[in-house]
Assembly symmetry: C2
Homo-oligomer: 425 residues x 2
């Protein structure tokens, strides 16, 4: 396959800087990875920037669609590109278990394996080990667990996780972290934070490749004091970027937002900030207003497969009989392939019949919606109108009811806990 | 949606006739539908022709991918086009039950509903009523049955089936037939043949639209005498085309081929002959050699979703561990999207993980394979080399073992019998 179809990798793209705006801050990582702030919002903490990666420039704020197992569910790489996505997320835990890191190495690395020539971020798998695997035994050395697929036993360490991610060859790689449940006690979270710090340091020390940006993950649950500790400690170590982990895992939204604020306040201005696991339209806008540059979540693609689609007024479900005879597309004026091509009635029909095409068409719509949202947000930040954009958006967008959302989330987390289910996202 | 994305329908395409070859026979149906023989093979009954339809020219021999419920499973209309398909099949029985004929009428007809601007053939649903529905009561008047989806009771007549197909608006429509099981007795098949004839006549009489070609369906099971009766009777009535039904439903291959020969011998030369339900590469080549112009079958798409893919040496399964580390595409030199883009190892991985993308990629490959097979066959007929092409192909292609094939087919038919299952193809 090596001679077929792949354009040579773009080693370093010229920087299309916004003229006259200057560069607010540069977080130079290495020759191939850097982050530039282009504009900050005068009325909020929102910021527009650019991530330079070995696989192209990524405008921020950015949303990463999730392709845990090396594929954004239902879509080809071309479709993900056409939607405008500049970076996707894959998961070291999933790829380690299937097909195995060695297989991907022999296939020429993750980009070539999945046919994606733009940027990739690999998550370390910390969250998955703590949410999917069973019979975990955590020690400072690392973690022993059983695969959620076949029950086989594995022993992973921070050093191994870095080695795996260097072999996979993503543009951005993540330190191994310990992610406690949302209802863990202060003491439990403190223990996890301390271990996450020691592991981050070992990840940093074991890094050999100089063309990948390594991000640390701030933990601390819903305890401001621990979030402060974690952000300060990891900042002192000096990483290419900082993720906020352990949020959006079942805690109320108010706490999520408060923890983002507590953490961002202590993170360096000139490094990218990545809020893990948040992908609802309102969650993204709220995060951006609080200084977040990067998001990932399986939510837009997962709810799509259940028939839920985003509109500027909120999330609706195509299975509702109101759509059974609607000649209009699901979102009037939407420029995605689904809305340009099919009536809501057709999509309703496909879902009624469980036609596999249904899941694709809804996925395309939801990812396109998020992509358009990101473009609108960035343009508002660059134009100095982010705050009014945000107010308008949030006034018009009816978020999923908080109680329903939390109960769904907890139910989903439970169904994905060690007792069961193999579905990755 | 009426103003979005649809090119105006091609009312009648200019005929790209093969220069110097002349037209062997013209079966003019009406202004918008006709069939032209372009070339016949001197050494076999194979023939190349052209179907003119209101939605474009269809070179024959042609294979119709199955989209029973208004979608070729997993694919968009654009993908089906890119593969080179000129006509698809949809099913009146399925569309009548879901979403209902009236819904599709209000959405502007079947072409617009499913976003497909090339030719469509709708099957009458006879076969489905006799294989999927439960509690059938057949009389000369029509058939009363219960839906395989919700058990609701329905009464259909030949006149209603034509009315439905006129409302759906396909280019080619089919008469209602009665299809007995492959192990039915001579007397049972005789009764079904007689009823099929009376129904065909009523279908013909009730046809109102003059822009759709109506095909009759020859029945007769595995009894040469009944096949003769049926072919002669329906030919006397005079239809735009003749389908051969009631084959490839569990009988041995030798009988299938013998029945095709018995039937084709009595069908008019200048009308298209359509072998229903045959879609294996070897079955298609065998049928073409015996004078068949059209084929449809869910087999290429159905087996794809089980991981089976066509090669010029036979059918293989990507789940086999031999593919787990294969860097080459599944078929070296294949020009389909799947083979141009991904290694066999990646496809193996996607199937191992039950990633939905897997089903798409395998479907694209199998339909592309059939499409390429049809192009090669047609080119061989036009070039006067069909017989050697056929011999070479059949010598290299190892068909699925007859015993395994029959047991799989019967198992599948059983799982789709009135006792169960809603999957349409």
């Amino acid at each position: 396959m090596s001679k077929r179809g792949f354009a040579p990798l773009v080693k370093c793209l010229p920087l299309p800087l916004d003229k006259g705006k200057g560069i607010k801050g540069i977080g130079l990582v290495n020759n191939l990875n850097s982050f530039h702030l282009v504009q900050t919002c005068p009325d909020s903490k929102a910021r527009a920037g650019e991530l330079i990666t070995p696989h192209g420039l990524v405008p921020t704020p950015v949303f990463l669609p999730v392709g845990s197992q090396g594929a954004v569910k239902t879509l080809t790489p071309e479709e993900v590109k056409d939607i405008g996505m500049a970076m996707v997320l894959a998961n070291t835990y999933h790829l380690y278990l299937r097909p195995g890191i060695g297989v991907i190495e022999r296939m020429g690395g993750l980009h070539r394996f999945m046919g994606w020539d733009r940027a990739i971020l690999t998550d370390s798998g910390g969250y998955q080990i703590f949410s999917l695997a069973s019979l975990r035994r955590v020690s400072d050395e690392g973690v022993i667990f059983r695969s959620h697929i076949d029950g086989s036993q594995h022993h992973l360490t921070p050093e191994l996780i870095i080695q795996f991610q260097e072999t996979l060859g993503a543009d951005i790689i993540m330190a191994l972290d310990e992610c406690p449940a949302y209802d863990a006690s202060f003491e439990q979270v403190q223990t996890a934070v301390d271990r996450t710090h020691r592991w981050a340091e070992r990840c940093q020390k074991s890094q050999k490749r100089d063309d990948q940006a390594l991000y640390a993950i701030v933990q601390g649950g819903v305890f401001p004091q621990l979030r402060h500790q974690s952000a300060e400690y990891l900042t002192l170590l000096g990483f290419s970027g900082y993720a906020i982990g352990g949020l959006s895992i079942g805690e109320p939204r108010e706490q999520t937002l408060a923890m983002i604020e507590e953490t961002v306040a202590l993170l360096p201005e000139n490094k990218p900030r990545y809020l893990m696991g948040v992908g609802s339209p309102e969650g993204i806008v709220d995060g951006i207003a609080r200084g977040i540059d990067m998001f990932d979540s399986a939510l837009p693609t997962r709810v799509a497969r259940n028939g839920a689609f985003f509109t500027w007024q909120g999330r609706h479900n195509i299975r509702n009989s109101v759509y059974s005879q609607m000649e209009q597309p699901i979102v009037a004026g939407c420029d995605c392939y689904t809305c340009r091509t099919f009536s809501a009635a057709y999509l309703h029909h496909l879902f009624s019949c469980d036609e596999l095409l249904a899941y694709r068409l809804a996925t395309i719509h939801n990812l396109n919606f998020i992509s358009e949202l990101m473009r609108k947000v960035r343009s508002a930040i660059l134009g100095g109108t982010f705050n009014s954009f945000k107010d308008n958006f949030l006034a018009g967008y009816r978020p999923t009811d908080e109680q329903i959302r939390l109960s769904q989330k907890r139910k989903w987390l439970k169904s994905h806990s060690p007792s069961g289910i193999t579905n990755s996202d």
